[in-house]
């Protein structure tokens, strides 16, 4: 029992440190990639841009149709065979971002399409240009609608970072694995790491509730 306690007190701060140093920053960076990508892809489809729209559909089809782990392997271990040198951290951030971006783009497209058509027409009638109407009127309303879905994505991405250990990144989960192997205590170590993920996600959930209330200032836009 004493040994277990020693393992916990020694490993827990280390795991937490890896969570803060790797899991969280990588989640934030890949979410940023996913966010920008999803806005671009959703707008290209909403505006029915001819060629771009088809490309976006292909992107979503391919990404949603293949596992994240396979995508990571393909880029990190596969592309070097074509002479493309990949760096592990940027690969992790880009692949995670490009992956979740496909799901987020679909949510955002739905939210854009849910904004009443009259909002656009009213903007046109007061001499606003299409981009200005999107920026001031349609996108803000769509973001309000899509916020819960985007929060979901953020939480999903935080947990998906555990997969990047497979491209040799030592992040929180990989660290737990190493200690578990050394001490022969998988139950203890994986429980610890699970609790840390749970704590991180709980904070995010609380944050989501707060922000949702704040975004509600104009009555949610739906009547």
């Amino acid at each position: 029992m004493e040994r277990i306690w020693r393992i916990i007190t020694e490993s827990f701060p280390l795991l937490l440190e890896f969570g803060i140093k790797f899991t969280i920053p990588i989640t934030i960076a890949s979410f940023a990639v996913a966010f920008l990508l999803s806005v671009f892809v959703a707008l290209a489809q909403y505006a029915k841009t001819p060629v771009l729209r088809q490309l976006c559909r292909v992107y979503i089809w391919v990404i949603r149709g293949t596992p994240l782990l396979v995508q990571l392997f393909l880029v990190y271990y596969g592309l070097p065979k074509l002479g493309i040198i990949t760096e592990k951290y940027s690969t992790a951030i880009l692949v995670l971002g490009i992956n979740e971006g496909a799901y987020m783009a679909e949510s955002l497209r739905g939210a854009l399409e849910a904004v009443p058509r009259g909002q656009l027409e009213a903007g046109l009638c007061v001499s606003m240009t299409y981009p200005k109407i999107m920026w001031h009127v349609v996108l803000p309303q769509a973001f309000r609608t899509v916020f819960p879905a985007f929060s979901n994505s953020f939480i999903a991405m935080l947990k998906e970072t555990s997969l990047i250990k497979s491209i040799t990144i030592i992040e929180m989960f990989r660290q737990a694995e190493i200690i578990a192997a050394r001490e022969y205590e998988p139950l203890v170590l994986y429980t610890e790491v699970a609790l840390i993920y749970l704590a991180f996600c709980s904070v995010l959930t609380l944050l989501q509730r707060r922000l949702e209330k704040r975004l509600d200032h104009y009555g949610g836009g739906v009547k």
Binding site: P116, G118, Q119, E121, A122, G123, L124, C125, V126, S127, M128, T129, K132, H136, V137, P140, Q141, R144, H217, Y218, G219, G220, G221, K223
Partner: protein, 249 residues
């Protein structure tokens, strides 16, 4: 002549909605567009502001000629700068306050600097009696209040003509009066207005000319008095009779 429209046609798939509509409007005119539901009144109005592309038709606005089918972006922008459009369901920007709803079009179109836009907005909101609700969001207002703000939004840019597309049709009966009052005041001040409406009382009392449409065609175009006193076509006579009958119930 301020506005002259001729030969407007429009087909949705197999369905012919407009079969060559003509209309002329002088400065200060209030023209009521009447007719049974589905007669193409709204589509006609939307074509004039390019919210709908007509299949053919010519618009002369302030001496400038526009082709309703082929007009380019810049031409459309020129027409829209001189017009305002009031929708049946208000279409206020849901994420903006009352004041922002009116200023946004002025500033975002580069027409006015912020301070000037605010002054213009306040003046317009004053005219519709909504200057005391500047920071309210549309969801906090009644339908009548929302429509008055929508009218202010149109007024603020100083349009030469305002198009009204059934402005009171979505309102509860007790809220119709406040919107019609605002429109009456505008007419009195000499605003040129084109109003698609089912409010016969309003058409009779405020408009000076009537365009009666049915089944996509302009059946009769006449001064308001003459139209109601001695309608020239059998269809207009029937329409007026049915309306009066309804009012009498």
């Amino acid at each position: 002549m301020m506005l002259e429209v001729s030969g407007v046609t429009k087909t949705f798939g197999e369905n012919t909605v407009l079969r060559g509509i003509d209309l002329f409007v002088e400065k200060g005119d209030v023209v009521a567009i009447l007719g049974p539901s589905g007669s193409g009144k709204t589509t006609f109005l939307r074509c004039l502001n390019f919210l709908e592309r007509a299949d053919s038709g010519r618009l002369v606005f302030d001496g400038e000629v526009f082709d309703l089918r082929t007009a380019g972006k810049k031409e459309i922008a020129r027409v829209r700068r001189k017009t305002a459009f009031v929708f049946q369901n208000y279409n206020l920007f849901l994420n903006k306050t009352v004041l922002q709803n009116v200023t946004l079009g002025l500033t975002a179109s580069g027409r006015m600097p912020r301070a000037e836009a605010k002054d213009a907005a306040l003046a317009a909101l004053e005219r519709v009696g909504m200057a005391d609700r500047l920071s309210a969001y549309p969801s906090e207002l009644s339908g009548g209040q929302q429509q008055r703000v929508a009218i202010a939004r149109g007024l603020a840019s100083g349009p030469e003509i305002i198009y009204f597309d059934e402005p009171t049709s979505a309102l509860d009966p007790e809220l119709i009066g406040e919107v019609l009052d605002v429109m009456r005041a505008l007419a009195r001040d000499g605003m040129t207005m084109l109003v698609v409406t089912h409010e016969m009382e309003f058409a009779r009392g405020v408009s000076n000319r009537v365009l009666f449409m049915e089944n996509g065609a302009a059946v009769e175009s006449a001064p308001t008095d003459a139209f109601f006193r001695e309608p020239k076509t059998e269809r207009s006579r029937e329409f007026i009779r049915s309306i009066l009958h309804k009012d009498g119930e």
